[in-house]
Amino acid sequence: MFVYADNAATTAMSRAAADAMLPAMGELYGNPSSLHQKGREANYALMGAREAVAKCLHAEPREIYFTGCGTEADNWAITEAARLGALAGKKHIISDAIEHHAVLHTLKKLEKQGFSVTYLPVHENGLVRLEELEAALRPDTCLVTVMFANNEIGTLQPIREIGALCRERGVLFHTDAVQAVGHVPVDVEADNIDMLSLSGHKFHAPKGVGALYCKKSIRLENFIEGGAQERGKRGGTEAIPAILAMAAALQESCAHMEENMAHISAMRDKLIAGLSRIPNARCNGDPDHRAPGIVSFCFEGIEGESLLLRLDLAGICASSGSACTSGSLDPSHVLLALGLPHEIAHGSLRLSLSEYNTMEEVDYILQQVPEVVRTLRQMSPVWLHMLEKMEDPYKE
């Protein structure tokens, strides 16, 4: 059996996305900036895509800027908010410890430029606490950036409440919603969001396209100079095929949001219940505030890369936050921020589902993972040392 359970890394393109993309790879080849019929045709298609994306977020079309990816949207939003803050003499930013590197590295760069950044702790369940955010707000705070859904442990932050607090204090609020858009309801109006990043390939659109939502009252500066595209703020001829595909994928995801959420979270809950039966295992994240498709576990006494590759041999695609899987040989900053010691973060496994997965696949995962964990434990000196201090849970 083959099971793709790494949808937080990327998703398969949907039929709807491919169907929307095909004309743009054929007859719809015009440059939207051209005045002739081919240009107008492409421009209409682009306008339609912008409207569709805006509608899914409850935004206005002119508040949507297409980008090359989610990372770009994060970079743009944060550097812009910082620039606007500095103009007003405000150089303090609040974020949290479990942001994606697209956010963290941008913040690190700003720190080098003289901004100060407060990283809120997330506690053992991976959630930011409102009272801690409130306490961290300063008169010179110009931006709060907190992600909507975490890509490793799936926690859903209290976005609406954070946004309300920021509104009250007159501070800009950005959220990296790359793992949320298309998966859970996102309403920039109701959720009090000023800026939001999204990425197409996380909801069945192709790779290499994303968007930034920026509230129209914010005086966004140009990010890429050189053209009138994206209201002059991001020059460069638009990636029409990818943009059309992203709009189609998002429309489809939003139209089927409720049924998808029900199906995916039922699979997730079965996975969590099943994996929890493995001895010395722990589920990471918050049991209630959790994205429908993301399951994160740590298994004591084993290492994640081995687990991952053994599952790969069994036909299951997953991921891990283990030190050995990261190029830097550091365990995932997200798992460490939960307070997990290095050796436990070492045995981490992330399974992430989409509406294309089935209960049969979940059953297959639940049959394979316990076996692989047990096999690796049998060859682990760490597990051997643990057995000196506890009863062997595998003893019949």
Partner: protein, 151 residues
């Protein structure tokens, strides 16, 4: 960026040789990797003429760490101790048809584990362990890679 393991690495990772524990081992060595926190344990059974009669390992680590343990045990099994001590991480990497650059350090663990197990054997026998590292002259396991450096 995804790393590629050679077929040989995957073969040893999927079906490692000499996994397990030798209850009445003559020498046991356990070494840890400062880089990523992984651990390797090696057991030796020494026979007539200081020949390694049997060897078993346990490893907590990545696919590369498991594959290097497996092939290193193959390489020293049946060898006299003084030959086994000549095992370098470079030879292990070559036998595996190479390792990705970030994974070279995993092969150091195998070399160290063999040396630590032999040192333990000598200690139990009350014999002096006079096999300083060829590269740096240090006694016993020295914790750096020999011949094949990491990038």
């Amino acid at each position: 960026m995804a790393m590629e393991y050679s077929e040989k690495v995957m073969e040893h990772f999927a079906h490692p040789h000499n996994v397990g524990v030798i209850e009445d081992a003559d020498g046991v060595g356990e070494v840890g990797n400062a880089k990523c926190g992984d651990i390797m344990r090696m057991y030796l059974k020494i026979g007539e003429g200081e020949v390694i009669e049997d060897v078993k390992f346990q490893t907590f680590g990545c696919a590369s760490a498991i594959a290097t343990s497996s092939i290193a045990t193959d390489m020293i099994k049946g060898q006299p101790l003084n030959e086994a001590l000549k095992l370098t991480n470079k030879a292990v990497v070559e036998a595996l048809d190479g390792l990705p650059a970030v994974k070279i350090h995993c092969s150091v663990l195998a070399e160290q584990a063999v040396k630590a197990a032999v040192a333990d054997y000598y200690k139990r026998k009350g014999l002096p362990y006079d096999h300083p590292c060829d590269a740096c002259g240090e006694e016993g396991c020295c914790g750096h890679s020999h011949g094949q450096e990491e990038e």
